[in-house]
Amino acid sequence: MRDYFSIFFAFLGSFLLLYIFIPIVLTISLQILDLNSLTNALRDELVLSSLINSIATSTATMLISIFFGIPLGYLLAKSDFYGKSFVQAIVDLPIVIPHSVVGIMLLLTFSDAILDNYAGIISAMLFVSASFTINSARDGFIGVEEKLEFVARTLGANRLKVFFTISLPLAMHSIITGAIMTWARAMSEVGSILIVAYYPKTAQVLVMDYFNNYGLSSAKPIAVILILICLFIFFILRRVARVKG
């Protein structure tokens, strides 16, 4: 009995696992058989500039989310204020809004200021990815024992000093994890960028362009480069997460 049960569950459970795993492995494998097109892609100036563009905008998004997300996360963790659960709801909202709708909303709000420029890319990325930094910062600050902050104050630190010498260093690990997630989510965004800033070209949009204009095989090398970058970031993320555990 014991074994049939486990086998049956393993059988059902492996479906989604393989469903995620096989396309990734297959895509990378196909590319390994065709290294030529990969090196060609890496020589394509449009590919390179779009990659740099993606990485730069994702990084800018991450930095903005850190700068504004840490104070918001701190307040959500440490303060009790009227409407706090409403604020938390707003922070969690972007994950359920269709990406194309995000683009429409941002254009309606900022119109030409973000149309087809770097600000547009970053604004789209920020909307869909800031929640990760905010929520991780919040969890990090929740994890800081209140007593430590009390003790620091009796030792002569005012609230700002306590924040910078005790709370922030102790929450840093969680904040970094969240910031990496924000970076990765920014890098993965397509739908809203397509609407707000088709240009300057980002790598994730270029994949789509090449696919539409030249077909699957032309899109593949850029896709693989992006997969490898994301796998690398994902690997770092799990390393960071493990250090703490």
């Binding site: 430590l148 009390f150 003790v151 620091a152 104050r153 030792l155 002569g156």
Partner: protein, 345 residues
């Protein structure tokens, strides 16, 4: 030195109610009370972490009730010592000195001095997470003492210490306290700590300081039955006295001094003799009772006895308990000397 006047404060499940007491300079003042009596809340209010709803706190005559904690010069050492886990032992100790921008050599000098007395020189570079409870305690105390605070608040400093080590560490605390004279308020629920380390004690029950005084005084002369009960005095009876006889629920108890009207007495459980046969002795108080329940204290068994309307506790060694083959509902005889009855004032 520190004077707390009529403090009121509610916080979560705890409260302070019209709480007043005073601590003298250089004193190790114990606050002894059961858990849930608000001892930690009191310390944190003195430290300035909570603002009282009413009442005043005076330190060396100055009203500090509304000062923020960082301006009070009062050090607070919480129950788990509150060491900063991202700093090593040395960095923990100098945390407050660095904030005050004390020059490096002066910092080094002060740390060396304290470290020698507390015998922590060899662990200064260690990660605080790997220190034992006793080592953590010393680092926390050093971190407080280097700032030369006017007052140190210790919250259950021995609660994270292994029972076997506790005696040794209390001994050492007593030793270095003699070298570094400081004023301390030390919160605990342990009679041993109070007796061993305290100069004076305040008994805290239900958010109030019920009695303060020298420890042996408070222990032998509890002011009221709340304090008496907390201190483990059992068998507190209330009845109508008439001369040398106290009548409690129909029971006539001989008492050592003449009294009149409603009074309270204590019959120490260890003064009660138990036997299965009727006792023939000089003791004037002899009664029949039935065993209600028993509790094992480790080689000593505590019996709860019922005599008509009243209940009394009595101690017995486990050996005689087993010998007598006592069990619930059993009838026994009990006796106690008149002189062992303590009449409340």
């Amino acid at each position: 030195m520190l004077r707390v006047e009529n403090l009121f404060k509610k916080w979560r499940d705890f409260r302070l109610e019209s709480l007043s007491f005073e601590v003298e300079k250089g004193e190790h003042f114990m606050i002894l009370g059961p858990s849930g009596s608000g001892k930690t809340l009191l310390l944190e209010t003195i430290a300035g972490i909570h603002k009282p709803e009413s009442g005043r706190i005076l330190l060396e005559g100055k009203d500090i009730t509304s000062l923020p904690p960082e301006k009070r010069e009062i050090a607070y050492i919480p129950q788990n010592y509150g060491l900063f886990p991202h700093l090593n032992a040395f960095e923990n100790i100098i945390y407050g000195l660095k904030l005050r921008k004390i020059p490096k050599e002066e910092i080094r000098r002060r740390v060396d001095q304290i470290a020698e007395i507390l015998e922590i020189e060899h662990i200064l570079s260690r990660n605080v997470k790997n220190l034992s409870g006793g080592e953590q305690q010393r680092i926390a105390i050093a971190r407080a003492l280097v700032l030369k605070p006017k007052l140190i608040l210790l919250d259950e400093p021995f609660s994270n210490i292994d029972a076997n080590l506790k005696g040794k560490l209390m001994k050492e605390m007593k030793k270095w306290r003699k070298e570094i004279r400081f004023t301390a308020i030390h919160v605990t629920h342990s009679f041993e700590e109070a007796l061993y380390l305290g100069d004076r004690v305040g008994i805290m029950i239900g958010g109030r300081i019920e009695q303060t005084g020298k420890i042996s005084d408070v222990f032998s002369r509890p002011k009221n039955d709340l304090v008496a009960k907390f201190l483990g005095h059992e068998n507190i009876l209330e009845g109508e006295a008439n001369g040398n006889i106290l009548e409690v629920e129909g029971l006539r108890i001989e008492i050592p001094k003449s009294a009149k009207g409603r009074i309270r007495v204590v019959i120490p459980p260890e003064s009660i003799l138990i036997s299965k046969e009727k006792i023939v002795s000089s003791a004037r108080n002899n009664f029949k009772a039935s065993v209600q329940s028993f509790e094992d204290l480790g080689a000593i068994v505590k019996l709860k006895l019922s005599l008509g309307g009243i209940n009394l506790s009595a101690y017995l060694t486990r050996a005689s308990f087993l010998d007598m083959r006592l069990s619930e509902g059993e009838e026994v005889y009990l006796s106690f000397k008149t002189t062992s009855v303590h009449v409340f004032e």
